[in-house]
Each structure stands twice: as structure tokens, then as C-alpha cells.
Point group: C3
Chain length 135, copies 3
């Protein structure tokens, strides 16, 4: 069972789309199984992080922006803008695919866990996330 | 088929729990399939690393502690202690979910691979790891 | 359904083996499902990255080599050569397992996505990648 959702991130940063995934799992009527998410992009990541305090997401964004700085003289891939090569590096340091077990018809997330698209481009547009639900 | 195990890390660092996962796979009687592990926490990771020389785990811990330092003036999320925001950053730089194929009734790990919980908090307590076994 | 392929990286860097995986998926005759790749090594990673401009792969390699430098005085695990401990660190910062949905008999990769083995050793030899195809 394959689904695709388009996440409109609207700029750099972490965007919580847990509710979209929960809705798909709920409608599929799977009691036990595995939900795997896959990003079809090389400058946007999928991560699971704390959804309680927004300062966590801001600190993550600022910390990673400092580690993977724009304008680094090391970059030779610079034609697509100053945020492009940092975006590729950030995506390999995080995750392109994620798997979450389904228990009693719901994602087995911890109490404070949310599923995020981490957009690394300033104008990344809509991102295609493919979701596989398995037994 | 869903299982949950609680891993008592007992402080920061890498904790090998391969035997616990092997036991679950063995008892389930699956000959071929996929074992997926999921951490229900945002300050602890799942990684696969060398299990031969303990100096590898110590160097990993020390290297990551230097990269993601406590007391960084960039952090605004500081209410839960100096090891909290570093823990969130470390968890996004490593993995929350891991999948290992099952071949001939056993995890298809390489000879020197072990499955580790990487605890990033000083007093993280017991961590819930959800395990999904699929066909 | 389990397969194993050996990827001959031939030195440090990113090696595209998307075609090998596509061939396995195509021959298996699965219309919809999930393809999971697993590396049996602790100094080589699996990543998905841009396959259009080779400068992306070179910049990734150079950036990570600078972040995880050889000869760091922090390392105590040094008996297996100067590229060994950096290889372990690089592998935990990237991925050991990857899952890609299968749609209409093909990997649901984005237009510019390729599947890479990232070899972190200078003389890593052939690397065993286990592939699980699930429903």
C-alpha cells in the first residue's frame, strides 16, 4: 500500500506533518505493521524530533546552519545558489527514509515525538513524500 | 509482529543490545524477513557499529561530544539541562530507526557489527525500543 | 526475498549502484512494495544523493573529510590505520540501512536521486549490501 503526500514547507526549517501520516495510517485500517516514509528529494530530510517546545526546532536549524555554512570556499557545486550544496550535505547528515511501527492502528511514536520534513532550501517548494504501509 | 524491549543504558554512551534483538528474532521463528528497530525517544539513537574493540565506542562518544558541545551559546532550549539540546542534535545526526534483513533465521549483520543504543542524556533512564518483524 | 550484491568501490568516495538495485527489483517482478538496503560494514555507508552533477559527490567527500579529519589527537583507536576511526565516525553520521518504496515495478526515486555506497576506507575492498524486497 503506497501513498504520496506533498508537504509544503514554505522555507527553511522543520515542518511537522505527523497528522497527515496519522490520517493515512488510520484510514488504511492497519492494526499492526510498519509505516515507512521516503523523501524524493536530495535537499530535504525526514526526521523525528520533539514536538513540545518549538525552541528545539529553532536550535536544530541554527546549529546545523552553523555546521554546514553557506559560502564555504570548499564548495565547487555553486551554480544552483548558496543554499544548494549545504542542502545536499545536510540531507546526508540526517535521513532520507524513516520507518515507524504501527501498533493498535496508530504510529508507535513516543509521547513527545513528531515527524518532520526538514527543508534545507529557501524556496524548496512542495516536497513529495512517499509512504509505504506494510503488514 | 511487534515487540518492545526496554534498554537500560545507565548513562551516556553506546550500549550493545544485539543479543536481545537476536533472541526475539530467534524465538519468532522467521526464516527470511526484515527486522526494523525504532526508538521512542528524541535524545537517544540507534546505530550499528563495530563490536570488537571498545575504543571505537569511546572515540565515537568523545568525538560527538566535542562536535555537539554542552553550554553552546547558540542554544535557547536550555531548561531541561545542559545535556538536553546536545541530545536532540546528536539524535538527528544519527538514526531513530534501523532495518536489518533476516537470513536463515538470523540477523544479517556483518561479522563485526553490533546494534547499539546511543544514550545522549546523563540520566536517560530506560529507553523503549519497538521492534517490528516483517516477512 | 533476500539478495546480496557486492559493490566494488575502489577507493574512498561515493559510488552509484542504482542500476544494480533497479535490476534486482525489476527481475523480482514486484509491482508494489518496499526495497530495504543494508550495509554489512562499519566504515561504509548507504546514502541517496544527486546523480546529475558529479561535483556534488566531490564536495560531499571533501566536506566530510574536513569535518572528520584523519590524525585527530582525540582518537585512541588507531591500530587499523589513519582512515579507520574517521570511517567509523562517518558511518554513524550517515546511514547503514535505507528503504525505498517500489511503485509500478520500479524504485520510487526522485528524478535526480541515485543510491550510493559511500566508501570511507582507502582500500575498503568489496562491500556486501543485503537487499530485502517486501510486499
Amino acid at each position: 500500500m503506497i501513498y504520496q503526500i506533498d508537504v509544503h514547507a514554505g522555507g527553511q526549517g522543520l515542518h511537522d506533518f505527523t497528522t497527515d501520516v496519522e490520517t493515512i495510517v488510520s484510514r488504511a485500517g492497519i492494526d499492526e505493521g510498519l509505516c515507512t516514509l521516503f523523501s524524493r528529494h536530495t535537499s530535504a530530510s525526514l526526521i523525528i524530533q520533539e514536538n513540545a517546545d518549538p525552541s528545539v526546532c529553532r536550535d536544530l536549524e541554527n546549529w546545523l546552519n552553523r555546521l554546514v555554512a553557506e559560502g564555504d570556499s570548499l564548495y565547487t557545486h555553486i551554480m544552483e545558489g548558496p543554499d544548494d550544496m549545504p542542502g545536499h550535505i545536510k540531507s546526508v547528515l540526517t535521513a532520507t527514509s524513516l520507518s515507524v511501527p504501527i501498533v493498535n492502528g496508530r504510529l508507535a511514536l513516543g509521547v513527545w515525538q513528531g515527524i518532520y520534513l526538514w527543508e534545507h532550501r529557501r524556496h524548496g517548494g512542495s516536497r513529495q513524500i512517499v509512504i509505504h504501509l506494510g503488514p
